[in-house]
């Protein structure tokens, strides 16, 4: 679609420009089919695909700062740029795209980056630079981006006054149905603006008769019919205009203009009765629409043409009353606008979320006070201002939510600190029960004894305690005072046999027992080392915890301070936006007042003329 031009335009162009309010299509980014190699990048895409773009952006920025999307560096940077661009961060997005072009050799990434850069430049009004960026795209983009690219470039040509280039670009392009419809519409309008009504009409007629499955397409179809109908009217082809305008839905957003046009087409063919039908229907509709305001004059005009002067007089008088009442309401609205009440009423509503991208206010506000801002809201600058205000309000709320969280985290840290203070003495007491150095010394002795047993084949040293005890008792007998007494020969024989058996057994088991003992020594050494490590970890952790807690505390303090500073700046900016919007609203209301005053003056003159004519007839 075309943006309303800001330079001076012919009346036809002006009409078409108004009919062609910009319609944005939020399409996918052509990122499907990625093989995710970092789960955090996939998580960003999960939010991005759900159009939760603020979450996607914040998670992406965080993940990149933590080096968690290293396998997707170029794509991540491109995605960040695209998300920033959607969020109105043209400057940051532009920096990212230019940096990316200097660092990546991936042709696919480079082409997509040139596309986004062209978009940034176009949105900032740098048309020549945008065109240069388009020319750097060397291969087709992913399908959705490719379609958007063609339409954007066509809009660029049209905005630059290069209608022929726009037509040439779009003439043979085939995209999906939606994009083709937009392309045909843009091309048709460009042709009409070039004075090639016949060629342009063919394309507009194609859009105007297409089947439409959704509201967006139905609306575009109506818009094409209105544009074509008024083009015919301007070319004084009223007979062609009427059937085209009659294709517009009676309950759609363009029905008022269509009804007005149908009336004028009939009127041109002197079919005033028929014209009256369309205008009377129109005159019963919402007076905020300029077409409805106009119909209040058109109805008595038709009556007058039919020779029904009393009806004409009555309807002119009715128009005068309505215009006067509306002027009074506009005066009140102006007072409200000057006091800032009108805007505050409009923007005081709770911001939905930080996803301000998709916030729209396309419908007429419901309440009486803000209804008069309908035209202001339709204005690009007002709409952008309002969107930015709500974005800032949502960010302000977002920061308030963080402040609440930080407060909870501070409490959590305080609890941790308290628990630390309570548990530390208990833990120290518990640890003091273990004499780790003594245990380690004991273990070293064991190792040494086992080594000596191996070296000396000391079978007793590795024998179980019971056997060692038996061995000692048998050995002790040899040293008793009565050992050499008479009559002990039998006893000595028994002792010698038992000692021999015991030694035999111990010797037989020596290798197994030695292996077991050495294994037990190793396991004990390992356990003692683990215990020593754990002691060290506990000591380290208990020593570091106060520092960790105070480190977090300091960071929380710093972040809270940053939140304060930013919220103060946000508040100032919101006040400035509010003032700006109030000024715009005031200007729009003044313009509306002037328009209604003009209608009222016309109605007065026409009424006087009808009265004069009636008086002359009565004479």
């Amino acid at each position: 679609m075309l943006r309303p031009a800001t330079h001076r335009l012919s009346s036809l162009v002006a009409t078409l420009a108004i009919l062609m309010a910009p319609v944005c299509i939020a399409k996918a980014d052509g990122l499907d089919g990625f093989v995710v190699q970092d789960p955090q990048y996939g998580e960003v895409l999960f939010h991005f695909y759900q159009q939760d773009q603020f979450t996607a952006l914040t998670h992406l920025v965080t993940a990149r700062s933590q080096h968690r999307v290293e396998h997707h560096q170029d794509d991540a940077e491109l995605l960040q740029g695209g998300l920033l661009l959607s969020w109105g961060q043209h400057e940051e997005a532009g920096k990212i795209f230019e940096r990316l072009l200097n660092t990546t050799n991936d042709v696919s990434v480079r082409n997509r980056t040139w596309f986004y850069l062209a978009k940034v430049r176009y949105q900032r009004g740098h048309l020549d630079e945008a065109q240069q960026a388009f020319e750097n795209i060397t291969a087709p983009l992913p399908p959705e981006l490719e379609a958007e690219r063609y339409n954007l470039q066509a809009r660029l040509f049209i905005d630059s006054g290069r209608f022929a280039d726009a037509v040439a670009l779009l003439n043979n392009w085939k995209g999906d149905e939606t994009w083709t419809a937009y392309a045909n519409y843009n091309t048709g309008v460009a042709l009409v603006r070039m004075g090639q009504l016949e060629s342009g009409a063919a394309l507009l007629d194609r859009v105007g008769t297409m089947s439409a499955d959704d509201e967006e397409m139905r609306s575009l179809r109506d818009q094409a019919n209105v544009a074509l109908g008024f083009s015919y009217l301007q070319a004084q082809l009223e007979g062609d205009a009427k059937p085209v305008l009659q294709r517009v839905r009676l309950n759609g957003p363009f029905s008022n203009k269509a009804l007005l046009g149908v009336g004028w087409a009939d009127s041109a063919g002197k079919q005033y009765r028929s014209a009256l039908g369309a205008w009377l229907e129109l005159s019963r509709r919402d007076l905020l629409d300029s077409a409805v305001q106009e119909s209040l004059l058109a109805v008595p005009y038709a009556y007058a043409q039919l020779g029904a002067d009393p009806m004409a007089a009555e309807n002119y008088a009715r128009a005068l009353d309505i215009y006067s009442a509306q002027l009074a309401r506009l005066d009140n609205a102006l007072v409200d606008a000057n006091n800032g009440k009108l805007i505050n009423h409009l923007i005081d509503k709770e911001p939905d979320s930080t996803g301000g991208w998709y916030w729209q206010l396309d419908r007429v506000p419901d309440d009486e006070r803000t209804r008069y801002l309908y035209f202001a809201i339709a204005d690009h600058a007002f709409h952008e201002g309002l969107k930015s205000y709500r974005d800032l309000a949502a960010l302000n709320k977002h920061l308030t939510d963080w402040r609440i969280k930080l407060s909870a985290y501070r409490n959590m840290l305080a609890t941790r600190e308290l628990a630390y203070a309570e548990r530390l003495p208990v833990m120290e007491e518990s640890l003091a029960q273990f004499d780790l150095p003594a245990m380690q010394a004991q273990q070293e002795q064991n190792v040494q004894r086992t080594a000596e047993a191996r070296a000396n084949r000391d079978v007793v040293a590795v024998a179980p305690a019971a056997e060692q005890k038996q061995w000692q008792r048998l050995a002790a007998m040899e040293h008793s005072a009565s050992w050499s007494d008479e009559g002990t020969a039998e006893l000595q024989d028994k002792q010698r046999i038992l000692k021999g058996v015991l030694l035999w057994n111990m010797d037989k088991e020596f290798r197994v027992r030695l292996w077991r003992q050495e294994k037990a020594n190793q396991e004990l050494a390992k356990d003692l080392q683990q215990a020593a490590d754990q002691f060290a970890e506990i000591e380290q952790a208990t020593a570091a915890l106060p520092g960790t807690i105070s480190g977090f505390d300091n960071r929380i303090n710093e972040l809270e301070s940053n939140i304060d500073t930013l919220q103060a700046r946000l508040s100032v900016a919101m006040v400035e936006y509010s003032q700006y919007l109030s000024d715009l609203a005031t200007k729009e209301l003044v313009a509306q007042r002037e328009r209604v005053r003009t209608y009222r003056a016309q109605a007065r003159f026409a009424l006087a003329a009808v009265y004069d004519r009636m008086a002359a007839q009565n004479r």
Partner: protein, 178 residues
């Protein structure tokens, strides 16, 4: 009033809108100035937001105990995921029901962070069960058990619902990241 004059009047009405817009050209300059400040503010908020996220994660899920479980899909578009249930060491930690929007995001390649928590160093058992509906309204309920060895450092586990291995038979494929 002649018809031609009337049509001119019609265009006048429409033009008045434009005249008003032309009068707002100054406002566009003012908007540009406000936009500069708005962009600077958004940039600052974004940076602050990043710092807040990092702090939150370090505080709640320190890297030496952090475990995150992700869900992804690699299935034909006719498989409709209803829910995923996750237990860690016998304790249920997540019962997630998917919206159509989330399902579409998964089918397009998005990865959902189903769970993030803290686990001690050592072995832990994860049990995941998904339910959903495949072609011909056939209901599916499949589970997977995984023993993970948690070391020092973050642990990421991806539960991919895939029908690549068995045609039209969605199964969990588990992948671990350190």
């Amino acid at each position: 009033m002649k018809l031609k004059a009337k049509i001119r009047s019609l265009f006048l009405v429409l033009l008045l809108g434009l005249t008003a817009q032309a009068a707002l050209a100054d406002s566009a300059t003012e908007l540009a100035a406000l936009d500069q400040e708005s962009q600077a503010l958004k940039k600052s908020v974004l940076e602050l937001n990043r710092d807040l996220f990092v702090l939150e994660e370090e505080l709640l899920y320190p890297s030496n105990t952090q475990v995150a479980v992700f869900v992804s899909m690699d299935v034909g578009e006719y498989f409709a995921l209803d829910s995923v249930e996750l237990s860690v060491d016998g304790k249920n930690v997540s019962n997630y029901l998917y919206t159509e929007r989330e399902l579409k995001a998964l089918l397009r390649g998005g990865v959902q962070q189903l769970y993030v928590g803290n686990l001690k160093v050592g072995e832990h058992e994860l049990v995941a069960v998904f339910t959903g509906q495949g072609p011909h309204e056939r209901d599916y309920r499949r589970g997977a058990t995984l023993v993970i060895n948690k070391n020092i450092g973050s642990k990421y586990v991806e539960l991919k619902i895939s029908d690549r291995e068995k045609q039209l038979q969605p199964e969990f494929v588990v992948r671990e990241w350190e």
